[in-house]
């Protein structure tokens, strides 16, 4: 197996992009990543996307985007793993390069969620859950997370406002990200007054429905070193995927993300690091409760203690473990199938020293974690900036 490097990154702004189609979003992110890498073609294109068939009536998406982007002839396929589609496509790209089957691979994540009515988009997102035994009973994606959050509050004796640091950090960090969907400061008072979506989850616990695309270019590490264009090289030190029961109700312990535990701990072993070595963590705060469970299962906080960690200030940009340094899902936005690639693009920006106003002082080892459904598919990537 060969080491894999990320040599190009690109992204579109995130938001309600009514003047941008699915194919244009993919095009813009891919061309930005190709220009950043200085390449004119590639061996393969892997597209992370969840809902193109349901919300745009468009399957066969990867071939469409390859065609539209001027990459006709290359291998192309869409990878779907609900909200983890982006990182799942990244994993396929890494496998292709590491195995020697491809030398230059483009991975993009793209999602268009705002062309449809809210009830249609909500039903589409619920497809991440078990259609016969969760969605058929009227469960929505937010409702499943709300039931996990309520049980967490019950088991650990915490209150709703204890979750406020997660969206507050996300919104604070998004202020310095020009591509983020929201640029507004969130206060604890505003959090407490936010309208309920599915209690105890309110609108400030919930990542927004939006459009966006992000892309990366992958190459064998040794080849990338020779190719070097004066940018810090980023090595993919670990790329791991794991699964849990699809339905929340089938878990013995719905407060434990087993797939986050498996994928993060395998990733630590592969990268030869421990949680203490991680400089910052781009985690999957689709809902505040998922941020807490991700930190606990990945070994950053004991069970039931993630909210204390958040309250301590450790997760802010000047803390010991900054999270979601460009706004996370909550404030950068969560174009579902694109999110996993946004996380990687933002981690590379930090590792290269290109994060602008949000640049961390110490950014050498990054971790990203992308969650599909309510914890059913979880991918962890560890990226190392090489000197």
């Amino acid at each position: 197996m060969r080491d894999v490097a990320i040599v190009g990154i690109g992204q579109t702004p995130v938001g309600e992009l009514w003047n941008q189609s699915l194919r244009h979003l993919g095009h813009d992110a891919i061309h930005a990543a190709m220009a950043d890498a200085g390449i004119e073609t590639a061996d393969a294109l892997y597209v992370g996307n969840m809902l193109s068939g349901e919300l745009s009536g468009q399957e066969h998406l990867a071939t469409l985007i390859a065609d539209f982007t001027g990459l006709r002839g290359i291998e192309a396929a869409k990878i779907e793993a609900a909200c983890a589609s982006g990182a799942a496509a990244m994993r396929v790209g890494v496998l292709a390069v590491a195995s020697g089957m491809a030398d230059t691979v483009i991975v993009t994540g793209v999602e268009k969620m705002t062309d449809t009515l809210p009830a249609e988009t909500t039903a589409g997102l619920a497809m991440a859950a078990d259609q016969d035994y969760e969605a058929a009973e009227g469960a929505t994606f937010v409702a499943l997370n709300a039931m996990i959050m309520r049980r967490y509050m019950y088991e650990y004796g915490v209150t709703k406002v204890d979750f406020a640091p997660f969206p507050i950090i996300a919104h604070e960090n998004a202020l310095g990200n020009p591509n983020a969907m929201f640029h507004l400061k969130l206060t604890p008072e505003r959090y407490e007054k936010a309208p309920a979506v599915a209690p105890p989850i309110n609108i400030m616990d919930s990542s927004p429905i939006c459009d966006g695309a992000a892309a990366v270019v992958l190459m064998p590490y040794e080849q990338a070193r020779e190719f070097g264009r004066g940018k810090r090289l980023v090595r993919v030190a670990a790329s791991v995927s794991a699964t849990d029961t699809l339905a929340v109700h089938d878990r013995h312990d719905p407060l434990w993300l087993e797939a986050a535990y498996i994928s993060s701990h395998k990733a630590y072993t592969l990268a030869g690091v421990t949680p203490n070595d991680i400089d910052f963590f781009e985690l999957h705060d689709a809902f505040s409760i998922m941020a807490a469970l991700s930190l606990e299962a990945s070994g950053f906080a004991p069970r039931g203690k993630a909210l204390e960690l958040a309250a301590s200030g450790a997760l802010a940009r000047d803390g010991r473990l900054p999270i979601n340094t460009m706004g996370g899902l909550k404030a950068r936005g969560h174009p579902v199938g694109a999110t996993g690639v946004y996380q990687i693009v933002e981690a590379v920006m930090q590792l290269r020293g290109e994060a602008g106003a949000n640049q961390l002082d110490h950014a050498h080892i990054a971790m990203t974690q992308n969650i599909g459904g309510s914890g059913a598919t979880i991918l962890t990537h560890i990226l190392i900036g090489e000197s």
């Binding site: 035994y133 929505t140 937010v142 599915a198 339905a247 719905p254």
Partner: protein, 132 residues
């Protein structure tokens, strides 16, 4: 329209028809022919009692298509007495009185409507347990 799809799972929808694993004794719901506890084959049918308690709950305000006329509605994770957990709406209940640990029992109700001319799907919901 999903006529065959709903027909295939009518036994579990209408009567909580599950399975029991004769290797480890675990009850299995919904039936999947593989025991989720020990991963061995589990084909023996078992009728679940329909009695359980609320493990957690919420209220759905932003309902998906097919459920909009019912919104807002209470939704819960129900831990059945036999062990399995399932997701179901609560019915015949004051939403303010729902709490974790509340004892509930299964009833059959209308679940969703597939448009003006489509199927009406029936299945299990749970209500506060009546005194025996």
């Amino acid at each position: 329209m999903h006529i065959a799809r709903n027909w295939r799972i009518k036994k579990q929808r209408y009567s909580l028809h599950g399975e029991i694993c004769h290797h480890c004794g675990a009850h299995v719901f919904p039936p999947r022919d593989v025991c989720p506890e020990c991963a061995k084959p589990a084909y023996d049918p078992a009728q679940l009692s329909g009695l359980g308690e609320v493990y957690s709950f919420t209220t759905v305000y932003n309902a998906p298509e097919g459920f909009q006329t019912q919104a807002p509605y209470p939704l819960a994770l129900i831990k059945l007495e036999e062990g399995p957990m399932l997701t179901a709406q609560l019915t015949d209940v004051d939403p303010d009185r729902v709490e974790i640990g509340m004892e509930v029992e299964m009833v059959t109700r209308k679940l969703s409507v597939e448009g003006d001319e489509g199927l009406i799907n029936y299945g299990y919901k749970f209500r506060p347990r009546m005194a025996a």
